[in-house]
């Protein structure tokens, strides 16, 4: 469904310096597949996500979704950013409905759909609250509902759980997997956590440090539905180990 073909991206900084962010990246993602992007800091994973989302133009190569070139943000793509970025002046419900309002696609059924999404993530009863009254985890859950309200077929997530505490991370990881099971869609998930990537993904794309290149695409054979506790499984350890090896080198991934 998503074809990233020989994509390179560079930025020109203020002092005319050329910074290469991505170098010749090619990835093919199937419909309804859950793919994680993992790599060291600065490897261009967020940049790659934005290229797929149509928020940045490619410098070389092309990104195609369902055979069509990506030149601008697509209405059927949902994006979850690193910070919840909720509108402080709107209630939780209005925040979730925001993309529909922006795209002028609000229907009489929209509020009901938004409410059912909030129920799905455990925020039932919070529709009228304001962002400042929510915890970080609740704000992120609202952000996820917002990305899902217009029924996208592709979900792009940029380290969404990065700023949350470990317990909330586990909870949201399970909730995300449940949402993905019940409403299948193609997901591209950026993370800097190896265990998180293996827990979530069908395949993990490992990027090198800047300029980001695809080192390897590691398949994850852990059976679904997945639970915390499955980290002990061989399949899990194999995948995690391989990813660690790619990122840190052979010595770092030696199993004792």
């Amino acid at each position: 469904m998503i074809e990233i073909e020989n994509v390179s991206k560079h930025f020109v900084s203020r002092d005319r310096d050329r910074v290469a962010a991505l170098s010749n990246v090619s990835i093919s993602i199937r419909r309804n597949e859950f793919v994680c992007l993992v790599g060291p800091s600065g490897c261009g994973k967020s940049t790659l996500l934005r290229l797929v989302g149509g928020l940045l133009p490619v410098s070389q190569g092309r990104v195609m979704i369902e055979g069509k070139l990506v030149a601008e943000p697509r209405a059927e793509t949902g994006i979850v950013f690193q910070s919840p970025t909720l509108l402080p002046w709107a209630s939780v419900l209005d925040n979730v409905l925001f993309p529909l309002k922006m795209m002028k696609r609000v229907t009489p059924e929209s509020p009901a759909r938004a409410k059912s999404l909030l129920r799905l993530v455990g925020l039932e009863g919070f529709e009228g609250k304001y962002p400042r009254e929510l915890s970080g985890g609740m704000q992120m859950r609202t952000g996820i509902c917002r990305a899902l309200v217009h029924e996208p077929d592709i979900l792009l997530m940029d380290e969404p759980f990065g700023s949350l505490d470990a317990l909330t991370r586990e909870e949201l990881t399970l909730q995300l997997m449940r949402i993905w099971r019940e409403q299948p869609k193609t997901v591209l998930f950026v993370t800097h956590s190896i265990p998180e990537s293996v827990m979530l993904a069908d395949r993990v794309v490992v990027l090198s440090s800047r300029p980001g290149r695809v080192l390897e695409i590691v398949p994850v054979e852990v059976p679904r539905p997945r639970q915390f506790g499955m980290e002990a499984l061989d399949e899990f350890q194999r995948a995690a180990s391989r990813i660690r090896q790619l990122i840190f080198g052979v010595a770092a991934s030696a199993v004792h």
Binding site: L55, E72, S83, T85, P88, W89, F98, M102, R132
Partner: protein, 248 residues
């Protein structure tokens, strides 16, 4: 209760000091004398208050109507900003006290030059505040707008302007205070009515108590208008963080 008690005790001290040291009324009149002279002709004083109030509100309104599109224009393109901003700074560099008599010659001796002077005094901090708010929008929110395929207008109306509301209101608070100053300055130069005119004429006749009375009325006017804006912000934009509000 505390501010009222503080002001009341201040008035009492003022009155006592004036009587105790027998300070001449033309230097500092006692509050009782101010009250006596000012309330002698209530209709007259009320009329002057109304005239000044009208100038203040008109000047303020024009400031708001001009500042908003101007700020949007300034923040829309660097080219426009480069062209318009120096002109704005120029308007501030000209002392309004010096400009006022010239405006009277150009525009006539009506209320118009007074409203123009009030506007010129009040609008600059308002434009700056609004522009500042419009460009302070976090890039995350702008990116969210782009991800939702918002047009430039939708982005302005639904993201940038709401985000700028606290900034706009801080500009409005500054502007209303300045509008009072501007109106009085204009009245000093050209007026046949108004509290500024009253201050000028009463001091010319050494009726200092009346001048002090007008001054106190002007201060009250400024405070009331200021608090009106604070109230509007609190009622219509409760999510807006103001410096006068306790942080959650």
């Amino acid at each position: 209760m505390l501010p009222i008690a503080a002001i009341a005790s201040l008035l009492v001290i003022w009155e006592v000091v004036c009587r105790l040291f027998a300070i001449p009324t033309y230097i500092i009149p006692a509050p009782s004398a101010i009250w006596q002279e000012t309330s002698a002709l209530p209709g007259n004083v009320a009329w002057h208050t109304l005239v000044t109030g009208k100038t203040v509100l008109l000047g303020f309104l024009v400031s708001v109507l001009v500042s908003l599109p101007l700020a949007v224009l300034l923040t829309s393109s660097r080219l426009v900003a480069g062209a318009v901003y120096p002109l704005l700074v120029l308007t501030q560099a000209i002392p309004k006290v010096a400009l006022a008599p010239i405006l009277v010659v150009v525009l006539g001796t009506s209320e118009l030059p007074r409203v123009v002077v009030t506007f010129l005094v009040a609008f600059f901090p308002l434009v700056l505040s609004i522009a500042s708010g419009l460009v302070s929008v976090p890039p995350d929110l702008i990116e969210l707008g782009r991800a939702c395929r918002a047009s430039r207008w939708t982005e302005l109306w639904r993201i940038r302007l709401p985000y700028a509301v606290p900034f706009i209101f801080s500009g409005l608070k500054a502007a209303i205070a300045l509008a009072v100053v501007g109106a009085v300055v204009a009245e000093f130069v050209n007026a046949d009515a108004g509290l500024g005119y009253l201050i000028q004429t009463s001091t010319a006749f050494f009726k200092v108590q009346l001048a002090w009375g007008a001054l106190i009325i002007l201060s009250i006017m400024g405070i009331v208008l200021f608090q009106l804006i604070v109230a509007i912000e609190r009622i219509f934009f409760p999510w807006s963080p103001g410096i006068d509000k306790p942080t959650v």
